[in-house]
Every structure is written in structure tokens, then in C-alpha cells.
């Protein structure tokens, strides 16, 4: 058996890695901006920047303030009745006591697959949604493990963080797009000899940067899943619960959900067998392995 991982260490390590990845995205952003401004006249550069920033900020604000409603609506979830789902409410209440969080709104989603998601811009505006399959197939400890994982996403401010990352990624994509498009109209009408190298670098970067940062975004998303697992153990002090839940999830059927909300879920709803650079979730086997060491 491998050395035991303290969950405090695991949480701290995940946070450090996430910060590192954020810095990486930011560096790409700045480098891209620098190369483009060198390739173009500064006036054009600021124009591009201002438009893309206005666009992405308004996009951010709308989705940020409504993310819980959007998520619940696109999953087709309904509010859970307190009398009908008493055990579910008791479990969540216990976990909020363990984490010192306010009580989130609880939603139910009709689906046979064991799954759950959380959304909302902060602990005071949070929703937790579980599938009917999870309620039927998981026992109390397993369900608490899954709920604790979702509450961790809320208490770790994962939703806020991922929204920020998504916006930075979006901005880079927009700037690259603007740059590449403007190249078509420029042609050779100006003396661009001095800028030729920068234009070349700019084109290469404008093509590669959006792909690179998207990979970083997905890597952050996977890190956050590990981090939420670790925090879930901190709340329940019972890694076996979440571990058994993941084992059950592993043998579950795939589920059809909109691609937009798939990354929100507890585990990849499509149940792809292998993890790759484009996965939104780490492989379940890996998660189970880490939980076994806690």
C-alpha cells in the first residue's frame, strides 16, 4: 500500500497546481497580446482588446449571475420536496454542519444514472442536484460521499474559478480570431517588412494559443475534481463512502445530457473509458486509487 496522503496536503497541492495553471493561461494571454501588438500598430491592438474585453465581460456577467438557473434548466431538474426526500435533506444538512456552509437548494433530476452536479456563484447562491438513480442505487454513506463532493465544488469556489478560466480562454480565442481575420484584409498594402517576423509568430500563436489554453482549461477541470474528492473526505472523514459510490458509478450506463453541462457533473456522464487531454473528468480508476490511499 502506498503512503497515505493527508487530505489537507491533497487540498493544498491541488490549489497550488490550479494557481500554476491559471498563471500559465495568463502568460499565454500576455504573450499573444505582445506579439500581436508588435505585428500591428498599437491603435489596432487596443481596439481589438477593448472589443474582446467588453464582449467577454458581458458574457461573463450574464452567465455568472445565472449559472445556477441555466444549469438546473438545461438538466431538466425540479426542486426536491423536503418531506419526500427527508434523508437527502438530513445528509446535506449534516454536511453543511461539517463544512460550515449555508444550506444549498436541492434539486432532483429524473435519470437512472448515478450522478450529481452543483452550480451557483458562491456558497450563498448554490444548488446541488442529484439524479433519482443516485438516490435509488447508493446507500447513505455513498450518497453522503457524492453530496460532499458536490458541496466541495461550492466551498472551493470551483464554479467561480472555472467561469473565470472560461472567460480568459474565451478572450484568447477571440483575440486570435480577430488577428487571423484581419490578416486577410491587410495583404501587402503597408510596409510591413519590420513586422514580418512578428506577423509570422502571431499567426502561429493565434492558431496554437486557443488550443493550448483549452487544454489547460480541461486540465484545471480535472484537477478540480481531484480537489473536490479530497475536500469531500475532509467533510465526511470517510473515503470509503465516496470510493464505493465511484465503483458503482463505474459500472453504470452512460447518460444523455447536453454537452454544455457535462463538465459540471460528478463524473463524466458519457462514461468514456479512457482519459485523454480532452477529457473534462479524470478517470474514475485514478480517483478511486487516490481515495484508497487516504
Amino acid at each position: 500500500m502506498a503512503e497515505r496522503i493527508s487530505f489537507y496536503d491533497q487540498i493544498a497541492r491541488n490549489k497550488r497546481k490550479s494557481v500554476f495553471l491559471m498563471i500559465l493561461v495568463f502568460i499565454v494571454f500576455v504573450a499573444l497580446g505582445y506579439v500581436i501588438s508588435m505585428a500591428f500598430t498599437p491603435g489596432d491592438f487596443f481596439f481589438i482588446m477593448i472589443i474582446s474585453i467588453i464582449f467577454s465581460i458581458s458574457y461573463l456577467l450574464i452567465s455568472y449571475y445565472n449559472c445556477d438557473k441555466i444549469a438546473v434548466a438545461s438538466a431538466g431538474a425540479r426542486p426536491a420536496d423536503r418531506n419526500q426526500f427527508r434523508q437527502l435533506y438530513n445528509s446535506v444538512e449534516g454536511l453543511t454542519l461539517a463544512s460550515g456552509m449555508p444550506m444549498p437548494k436541492i434539486y432532483i433530476m429524473n435519470n437512472e444514472q448515478i450522478n450529481a452536479f452543483a452550480s451557483g456563484r458562491g456558497p450563498r447562491h448554490a444548488v446541488v442536484c442529484v439524479t433519482t438513480g443516485a438516490l435509488q442505487k447508493l446507500n447513505k454513506q455513498e450518497l453522503e460521499g457524492v453530496l460532499a463532493h458536490e458541496l466541495s465544488h461550492i466551498s472551493n469556489y470551483d464554479i467561480r474559478f472555472m467561469t473565470l478560466v472560461a472567460v480568459m480562454v474565451g478572450m484568447i480565442a477571440i483575440i486570435s480570431e480577430f488577428f487571423l481575420r484581419s490578416m486577410w484584409f491587410r495583404g501587402n498594402d503597408r510596409e510591413s517588412k519590420g513586422n514580418a517576423i512578428f506577423i509570422l509568430i502571431g499567426i502561429v500563436m493565434a492558431i496554437l494559443a486557443p488550443i493550448a489554453v483549452q487544454l489547460v482549461q480541461l486540465a484545471i477541470s480535472r484537477k478540480r475534481e481531484f480537489s473536490a474528492d479530497a475536500t469531500a473526505v475532509q467533510f465526511t472523514r470517510y473515503p470509503t463512502g465516496l470510493m464505493n459510490a465511484l465503483k458503482k458509478i463505474k459500472n453504470d450506463k452512460p447518460m444523455k445530457v447536453s454537452k454544455a453541462i457535462a463538465p459540471l457533473f460528478m463524473s463524466d456522464p458519457t462514461r468514456k473509458k479512457f482519459q485523454n487531454l480532452f477529457s473534462t473528468h479524470p478517470s474514475i480508476d485514478m480517483r478511486i486509487k487516490i481515495l484508497e490511499q487516504m
Binding site: N90, E93, G94, L97, A98, G100, Q234
Partner: protein, 184 residues
């Protein structure tokens, strides 16, 4: 102003901001401890409120189990009458034990076990017991975080400046923590 003056102002500003950040940190962490204690308190009181109802229900089926009923009622009285949180926690532990015994004894009375009201109370008590455990865990976590930030660098410096001291864990008697023995 010269460059040196600007640098001095910047340094002073950084020092003031750091002091404010750390001062607030200690205050927030300290409040979290108080808050977690009051959460335990809320659950202890909730449970105490259910006790008279439970005793009444059990009396109807198990008249002979007077000693355990008295123990439960006494523990509840001690809890309700306790003036400070430490005493209430102690009384809460005594009540936990007494209730555990009561529910064990209830196993010998099939009619009681079949009683709707009793079952519901038993379930509610179990839920509250869980919540007390969770609230306690959060309390311990909060103290751990507070103490860690007092003891590690650079927090230890600011703790000395503000006169912040480590907090003690509430002592819960060892016997209470042990897993209850199950005999067959």
C-alpha cells in the same frame, strides 16, 4: 517627491495592509470557532427537546425500566440547566450515553419497537446524533486551522503583535469517543 519617498510610502502601505489582512484573518477564524460551537449547541438543544416525548412513549411499553428513564431525564435536566457551553457539552455526552442504553433496552420490547411514534423519534435522534458529530468535527477543524495560523510563519509574528493565543480543544472524555461495544 523623490523616488525614495515613494518607495517608503509603498513599503508603509504594504505593512499596513498586511497587518489588516492578518488581523481580520484571526478575527474571522475566531468567529468561525464560536459559530461552530453554537451549531453544536443548537443540535444538543434540539435533542433535549425530543427527550420528554421519547420518555413518555417508552414508559407506555416498558414500565419497569425506571433507572434508565431517570438517567435520561436527569441528563436532560443537567443539559437544559447548564449555564455555559462546556457544561452543556458534558451533559450532552451523558445524555448520548443514556440514550444509547435506552435504545438498546428498547430492543427487548417488540411492541415498543413497532410503535410508529417511537420509530420516528429514534430516527430523528439518530439524525441529530449524526449532526452533532459533524458539527463537532467542524469545530475541531476550525480550531486546528486557527492554531495552525497562529503557530506557522508568518502568522506567528502577527499573533505575537496582536496578542493572539492558541485555543484549546474542548475536552471530551475519552470514554465517549470510543466506539460503542456491540455484544452478541
Amino acid at each position: 517627491m523623490t523616488g525614495i519617498e515613494w518607495i517608503l510610502i509603498a513599503i508603509a502601505a504594504i505593512i499596513v495592509i498586511t497587518l489588516i489582512v492578518y488581523f481580520n484573518r484571526f478575527v474571522i477564524l475566531g468567529q468561525r470557532i464560536d459559530n461552530s460551537l453554537s451549531q453544536i449547541d443548537v443540535q444538543l438543544k434540539k435533542r433535549a427537546d425530543l427527550v420528554p416525548n421519547l420518555v413518555e412513549t417508552v414508559k407506555g411499553y416498558a414500565k419497569h425500566e425506571k433507572s434508565i428513564m431517570e438517567k435520561v431525564s436527569d441528563a436532560r435536566k443537567a443539559l437544559v440547566g447548564a449555564t455555559d457551553i462546556v457544561k452543556r457539552m458534558k451533559a450532552g455526552n451523558v445524555l448520548s450515553n443514556a440514550l444509547g442504553r435506552l435504545f438498546a433496552i428498547a430492543e427487548n420490547y417488540p411492541q415498543l419497537k413497532a410503535n410508529e411514534n417511537f420509530l420516528q423519534l429514534q430516527q430523528e435522534m439518530a439524525v441529530i446524533e449524526d449532526k452533532i458529530a459533524y458539527a463537532r468535527q467542524f469545530y475541531n477543524d476550525s480550531i486546528l486551522i486557527y492554531n495552525n495560523s497562529c503557530k506557522t510563519f508568518p502568522g506567528i509574528m502577527f499573533a505575537a503583535i496582536f496578542g493572539v493565543k492558541e485555543k484549546k480543544f474542548l475536552e471530551i472524555p475519552e470514554a465517549q469517543r470510543a466506539v460503542p461495544k456491540i455484544s452478541f
